[in-house]
Each structure stands twice: as C-alpha cells, then as structure tokens.
Symmetry: D2
Subunit: 261 residues, 4 copies
C-alpha cells in the first residue's frame, strides 16, 4: 500500500492553542451546521470550558436532498471567524468546492473534506497544495486502500498534515446510521502513521451510542473524537438525532476523564 508515501514522516501537527496532534488527544466538538452567532458562540464557550480543543461548525453543508438546509455558507464562515476569535479556539470546517478554498482557508485551522468528497480528486489535489492540516473523512463505502489513496492525492501536493477520520461505513445493518469500523483505527495507524480521529455521531447516528463508542475509539488507539453538540438538538437544522445537548456532552467528558484518555 502507501507506506512509501507516509513512512518515516513523523506527522506532528501543531494548532494555535498549543495542541499537538497526535501527542494530545483531540476533542472536536460543536454543531453540525452553523445556524446563528449565538448558537455557535454559546456552544463554543461551553465545549471549550469542558476541555474541547477544536470547534467544529459547518458553513457549507453537503445534504443528500437539494431541498434540505444547505448551510449559511459565506455568512456561516463570518460567524465562525468571529467566534473563533472571541472564544479563542481553533476551528475546523468543511470545504466542498475548489472555488471556496480561499474563503475557507481564511478561517479554518483545519480543513475538512467530507465523506461525499473523499473521491473528489480535484478537491483533494487543491487542499494538498495549501499548508493547513486536512481532515479526511472516509468515504461511505471506501476500502482502507481507497481511503489511503485519497490521502496520497493530498500528500502528492506536498501537504502531509493529514488527519484521517473514521465516521462509519455503509452496510446492510439498519439499526445504526452507519457501521463504525473501529478496526480501521489501528490499521490506518499501522499502514500510514497518520493520526486517526473517530466520529461516533455520524458513525452511529444515535445519541445514546456516542459515549460507549467514544470510549471504545480511544481504547482502540484513536487520537481524538469529533462529536456533534448543539444547545437544542430537537430543533437543530441538521443531524439533531445524533447531537448531544450540553448536559450530555458534560457526561461524555466525565466518562472520558474517568477512563479512556
């Protein structure tokens, strides 16, 4: 596989707040989609206070249906920029279109490539040419090899600061939204040496499963987790069923401190 590309590179990604990936454990938290300044600001304050070290928040949202809420786009990026400065927390946000790269680059500390774009090779090539860390979500039905190939597309441009994100794969299993493939964590680490973060929110689609799957992810060797947190999940504009409210996030952090991290 791709051992030649990544081998021996000691991937060490430093964020502005001093967090060093993959020395420090990453707790990436925040809403699926940015809905308003207040929503993002309150969430950011809260999750930071509990130890989250990166804020997530989507401005461009890849939605299956064109009739669903598509994100606040540029307005969302503006909000993200303000909150990042106000709350002093690094931020990650998704890039869906090569034409938005400059705008996203301007705000993001980490640029996310979503599952639906893992095979969007033009996009991979472009983020490989810039210098911010790239967060590469596994495609919905990507093999380990294809996922690593996607990372190679990025690395080809010179940027090897890649964080691999396991977010569940599509199987016949209909109880959970996806099937979280935690074996991918040690596999990716062995095959590439890249840091691996697990997203139990998308990986299960069920709020109650986020805590046990976060604990399991760290036990399997993950370098971090990405979880959706929303002040009011019932009224979230997207992914409410898999978002934690503030109390639930607090419990998650307690469990992690007692155990896995």
């Amino acid at each position: 596989m791709s051992k030649e590309v990544f081998k021996g590179k000691n991937i060490k990604i430093e964020l502005e707040n001093g967090v060093v990936i993959s020395k420090d454990k990453l707790i990436i938290a925040g809403p699926c989609a940015i809905e308003s300044y207040d929503q993002l600001f309150n969430t950011a304050k809260f999750v930071k206070s509990l130890g989250a070290n990166v804020l997530r928040g989507g401005a461009y949202k890849p939605r299956t249906s064109p009739f669903s809420f598509q994100g606040l786009k540029e307005e969302g990026l503006e909000i993200l920029k303000s909150v990042k400065k106000e709350v002093e927390i690094p931020v990650i946000t998704e890039l869906m279109d090569v034409r938005d790269l400059d705008r996203v680059y301007d705000v993001a500390d980490i640029i996310q490539i979503g599952s639906r774009n893992m095979h969007n090779f033009s996009l991979l090539i472009e983020v490989g040419k810039q210098d911010k860390p790239v967060f590469l979500k596994r495609g919905m039905s990507a093999t380990i090899k294809e996922w690593i190939n996607a990372a190679e597309y990025i690395a080809m441009g010179g940027n090897t600061n890649i964080i691999m994100c396991e977010r569940g794969i599509r199987t016949y299993n209909d109880y959970t939204r996806n099937t979280l493939d935690l074996a991918a964590v040690p596999i990716i680490k062995k095959e590439t040496g890249l840091p691996v973060v697990v997203d139990p929110s998308h990986g299960t689609g069920i709020r109650e499963l986020i805590r046990p799957m976060s604990l399991a992810a760290f036990a399997a060797g993950a370098d971090g987790i990405m979880v959706e947190v929303h002040p009011d999940p019932e009224n979230a504009l997207s992914d409410g069923a898999q978002s934690l409210n503030f109390d639930e996030f607090e419990e998650l952090i307690k469990s992690l401190k007692n155990g896995a991290m």
Copy 2:
C-alpha cells in the same frame, strides 16, 4: 420521493445524429480512456459501423490511485473533438471539475458525471445550469433515493435532460467488481420517468459477463447500454479486463439484434 420534480415531464432527448432518447435504444461504446487519435478513431469507426450511436471516451479519468494514468485531459478532449467530427458520431465524456465545464461543454454531446462524483453537489449544480444532457452514474453505494436526489440537484438548475446510469453497487460479493442492480432499471423509470442506461462493463468487471448482462438489461427495460470497447484490451491503460475487443463487440451486437432490442 421526487415524483414532484420529474413527474409528467416527458423526457425526450434528441442527439445530433437523430437519435431520440428514450425512444431509440442507446448503444454507447468506446474506450474507457482516450489514449491516442488512432485508438479513438479506429474504435469510433468500428463501433459506429455496427450500430453504436454514441461514442464514449474519457479525457479526465478519476483513478483511485494518484499514481495511475489520469487521462490525456485537454489533449484528450482535442482528440475527441476531431474524431467526433471525422466519424460523425455524438460523444459522451466525463466532467470531474467545475473549472473544466466550458472545455467539456465545447466537445461533449452528453456530459457524464461519474460514480465518484454523484455526491459532488457543486458539480451537479453546475451541470444543471447548462443545456446539454447529463449522464448521471449511480454512486458506488448510493441508495435509490440518494441517486434520485442527485438528479434533483441537477434538475433544480433547469436541466431535466438527465440519463440515469446503473453501473453496479458495492457489496460483499467479491467475484465481480460490483453487483449490477438491474432492479434499479424499472424502479428509476417508475419513480422518475427518466431514461436508464446500464453499464455492464463496470457493473461486472468481467468481459465474459457483458453479453448476458446487456441482454438482461434490455429485458429489464433499459433504454441503452454503455460498454467499453478497445482495439487491444490487454494493453489498455485502464480497465482492460472489462473491455471488449472488436470481435467481442461484434458478437455482442449480434446477440442484441437476435434478442433483446
């Protein structure tokens, strides 16, 4: 589902050679990738002489590995343009990047969106704003609903001239490259009224299965097939194992005339 969007629209797509989709059966044939003028010209002459009514040929190739042949790109489009004119046959070619739309539009009679980009919503939105027919391949693990949603992204821009292409889905089954889901043919026709073309080359990945699966596709109600034909499959730069040579294509056409079409 999306009956509101497509319902009642009598999709009728006319090509320059007088072919009317979905009245006439589409036989789309040609190489996976354009490799040279001679390769494409000879293939085009041959497949047209046997009744193929659209020539396929990839200039931009989405390859899983960045180290595989990526297509001749602009040079490939130039070759396609010449051959199209010389042989007088409409052509289909893939668009992978919104920034290449004008170049592809200039040559293509039908613009192909590949499986890996079925969820590249920016690309879908852009091809929805132009007036050439769009050939929408099903994503590797797309549900029927997601595939129709992708068509809706295109239709939203005003372009409902969409041809849906079933090309096999990813399953546990390891004998064939993909599992050809022929039930999708009557399902898509019922749910949307859009024409459906089947690609048995990608759908099976095995040369010997192209003939029976083409017959089965027409029996299931398909409006056409897309097959890979190469003068010398053993030395093809991509997808050789699933390409027909000229003799095999001739036999396929004979079988179709005896039977299904």
Copy 3:
C-alpha cells in the same frame, strides 16, 4: 473453485411430468406457505393451466420471528401430497430439519434447502445421500465460492442433481428486500454447469418488479424462475407483498411467451 466436482457431469434432471432440467425452462409457482387444501389446490390448478411445470408450497416455514406463522408442518405435507396427486404436477417443498427428511422425501419431487440453511452442513450432507433433486438457495450473504462449496457438501454424498437458486443478496440497498444478483446466473453455469433458477419474488420483495426481473433472468441465461402466487395476496399468512395474484401471474406468463423463453 469446484470445477473438479461438477465438471463433465452432464446434469440432466427429469421430473415425473416429463420436464427435463435444464433442457426445458422451469416455471415454479405457488404460495409461499401452504395455508389450506383449497388455497393450494386452486393455485395449483391455475398455475398448471398457464404452463407452470412445478408447484411450490411451504409446509415448514423458516420465519425470522418465532411469533410469526411457522407453517402447517405435517398437515401441510399431507395437503401437498393430495394436491400433487389430484392436479398431477411435481412439487417442491423446503426441508429445514434432518429429522423431517423422510417425511419430506415422501412427498417432494424436488427438495428445497432455504437461504437460512445454506450453511447448515448437517442438512446438506443428508440431502446429498438421498436421490431426489436438491434446490439449493443461495445464502443471504453467501459468496459465489461459498454457495458452490455448499453444493459440494451435497455432491459429496453422491447426489449431483442440484439446482442452484439465486434469490437476492443482502446489501445496503433498502428499496428492495434483497439485491437480485443476476450476474450469478452465467457465473454459476460457467463454474459448475449446474442449472440456475432465479427467484424474483424474494429477490426484490416487490410485486411490480417480478415481471421485469423474470424477463431479465431468462435473458441472462436462467433455466427457470420461482415465483410466489397466491389467490389473495393481501391476506396471505406470509410474503403477501411479493406474491402475484392470479391475474398478475397470467400477465407474467404472457410476457414470458412474448419474449424471453
């Protein structure tokens, strides 16, 4: 694979009504479960009058839930025996338990091994030791190789009169009950030479898809189809949604005569 086991054996299975598999096309029709004498008798008369050459009817029913109707068992076998004699049509019925072999042998012209028992090796070994043809349904997630291995378990006992039945595989696809893998038809014929029958009722789970998928099955080279027919599908004790009523079965037969067979 298993070419050594089956190779060169010219599988030729003769039924009492003169049907020779795989020279004649098999039309196996009847209810999922035997519910009463009248239900089975009327169905048998009707499907035979239209050209069905084997009657199906389950006495032992493998149901996912223990709280669902489990079949009439011995009483069902008695009904099947009477109807078979009265209507003069060969019958196929499922064997689920080695301890019922004698009882099923006494009635059946073809013994069915269901999907859920494709890996029940004890059962395979027993039916391999008796002399009636065995109808081996593909397991829900069996690979081609595993399915052939199961046939080898039967053949080991001396019985190579095996009919392979493609009935759809389990995939992520949620529109149909299963994904009908028609490529399996030419593959199994090439790898083993055994006759292959397709079950579009279980393969799709949707009544409207039975006709196009039956046509496609024959076009792909199938030696027969197995379809569920019930006098009153809405009130069937099992699998009503995928059963044809009498009128629908008549239309299916007309389509087949006009086309594929």
Copy 4:
C-alpha cells in the same frame, strides 16, 4: 422489538468455577479446533494460569469447504471432557446438529451456536429446551433484530441463559475478515439485557488487531471476549492467521489488566 421477552429478567449465569456472568468479565480462550489432547491440555493450563475463566475448543467444525478439516467430532469431545476435568475449567464448544445435542450437553458448560447456524431454527428450539447456557453468535449478515429474534427462539423453550456474541459482520470491506460492529454491544444490552461477548479473532481475522479490539470491546461495555489461542498458530488446522500464540495471549492479558477490565 423483543423487550417483552427478556425485559426485567435479571440474567445471571453461574458457571462451576464460580464465575457469574455478567458480573465477572469472561475471558474465553483456546484453540479454534481441538487437534489433540496435548494441544488442548497445554493451552488450557496456560490460559487458565493467566486468568482465562472459560476454555474454548471446537469438536464439530463448520467449514465452508467440505474438503477442509471438519474437526475431531466425538473424539474431540472426549478430549475436551478429560481436559476440563484435569485442568478444572468450564468449557464451551459448538453444537451444529440437533442429533449431537446429548453428546455436547454431556461435556459443555456453555453450548455455542455458530454464526452459520444462527438461522437454524430447529437447533435454536432444541437448545432452548435444555438448561445449559447458550452462546449465540451473530449471523454473518444478521440485523440486530434478526439476532434478537434468534435469541427469542431459544427463550421460547424456557432457557433465557443466553450470551450474545458479536463476531463481526460481512461488509464490502476487504482488509479484515469481517467488520466488528462494536456498537452492537450497547445496543443488545439495551434492547435485551443479555450479556454480550465480543470475538475479535473472527471479527478481524488478523492477529495484530485482537489486542486493540479487545480493549475497545470492554470500553464499549462488553461482558467478555472470546479469543483463539494456539500453541503453534502457524501449524493450526484452522484459523491460524487469527490465533494468538502463548506470548501474544500473555501480552493481551497484561494490556487488559492495565486498562479496560
């Protein structure tokens, strides 16, 4: 689902060595197949000395191919009986055929139903009528609901001492033998209250992944693990690639003591 069947039942299974499931964590270890007295005795002594509280060893082996080693059968059961007595450790072994129930009952402390027989309803019904705990492996492509339904078949006979075993599901993913679905652990516990054991050996098929997946299993809430241990995995008659040698098992136990249990 099946909350009615299991709800409120406080499943408490006591083994002869005082182990109480699910109060104590289960460490089930031993060879895939019993090959000889020495092989089993040495393994049993060793794993017990490190804290394993149940010995596994297959006498009847369900092998995909009829030409593979099928287990020592009755001779294997005799060996298991002697070793159990000599080493003083409870044993688990698989039952594949209703006709072997008495023989297996005579030796086993826990009766295993393998993945391939999860839908063998006759077998489920029979083990539901006897009083030893049943270890129910999830079928290769069983949904959560179907797996619970299988447990209900057992419970119907009066035996609710059921241990559910997650052993990986079949997906498109080709890096590991199966995809270990750890989310099933909290789901089964919530839906049924039954104890859940994870089998990382079959769940991954790769020796190196057993340690991280065992840790992850306990972190997700599992009541135990089942691992394959063999004195000489390279020369094992089955499943060598996923078996631990003695040193590797020792390391696994150390990791578990440092962490998860």
